[in-house]
Amino acid sequence: MIEPVALEHFFFFFFAAALVIFAALAYALSYSFSRLYRNKTLLYVAGLAYGVLILAVFWLSWLANLHGFWYALVGMMLFGYGVAPILIWRLSVATHD
């Protein structure tokens, strides 16, 4: 069912896991600010942050031996953390007018 993280990957696993969530935050922040200030540069920053998120998720999936069923989790994280800020922003706009 699972193949535990190997000893030598221990430290990096925590690092990668924290990076996933912080990249998700950076992406969400830069995306929302780019919308708020209608700023193109920030949108690129958001794209970059999402790029980091993708790398971090793949790194994590390698470190934690996520194969088989666990691909679904990788996909779900890429999708979920990717669309959430966009959808939530749209929802914010739509609920406020």
Partner: protein, 197 residues
């Protein structure tokens, strides 16, 4: 406000909240029924209480890729073979004592509790207790007077005397032996027993 699309409307999200909650909860209920049927003592993952009459080990299982409890041969606790009812009564005394003495605010059981003292999930199998022949006696002495029998491995951290009676100690040991035979999906990892590999 009239332009609010349906997916941003209050009523849409109210319904979504209700359906998501109800759906998740329903699934949890179904899983709970299934889990209960698989963790009831004597149904496979969690052994019958008479397992305390048996020899227990914890070994790496090549098919499962993690350690599994192994039950083989007779090894009656305190020299008595107990029937189902007696075994359950003894383990129950142990569990009630463990709650009454608040062990879980120092120790973890199945990894849950406090972190001031060693995990007790496989304590029955800990190599420090020596062979099967002396183990129950050493454990009983320890539980009844952990200060005099302290080891602490250089930490100076002693378990206090909790006023555990001989009967209660036997109950606790029966409980620990029974617990060590639960299939915990390989937790604790890499645990090596005195007899095992």
């Amino acid at each position: 406000m009239e332009h609010t699309p349906f997916w941003a409307s209050t009523s849409f999200w109210k319904k979504t909240a209700i359906w998501v909650t109800a759906g998740s909860f329903l699934l949890l209920i179904v899983l709970t029924f299934d889990t209960m049927s698989k963790v009831t003592a004597g149904t496979g993952r969690v052994p019958d209480y008479t397992v305390i009459n048996k020899r227990i080990d914890y070994r790496f299982d090549d098919k499962k890729h993690h350690s599994m409890p192994v039950i083989e041969g007779d090894a009656p606790l305190f020299g008595r073979i107990l029937n189902e009812e007696e075994a359950e009564r003894l383990v129950t005394l142990g569990k009630k004592t463990i709650q009454a003495k608040n062990c879980m605010n120092c120790h973890t059981l199945l990894g849950n509790g406090a972190y001031y003292a060693p995990d007790l999930t496989k304590a029955w199998l800990d190599p420090a207790w020596g062979g099967e022949a002396v183990r129950p006696m050493l454990m009983k002495m320890f539980l009844m007077d952990p200060v005099a029998n302290a080891r602490t491995y250089g930490s100076g951290r002693k378990m206090p005397n909790l006023g555990i009676t001989e009967q209660e100690a036997e109950g606790i040991i029966a409980f620990l032996k029974w617990m060590s035979a639960i299939d915990t999906n390989g937790f604790p990892y890499n645990f090596k027993t005195a007899g095992g590999r």
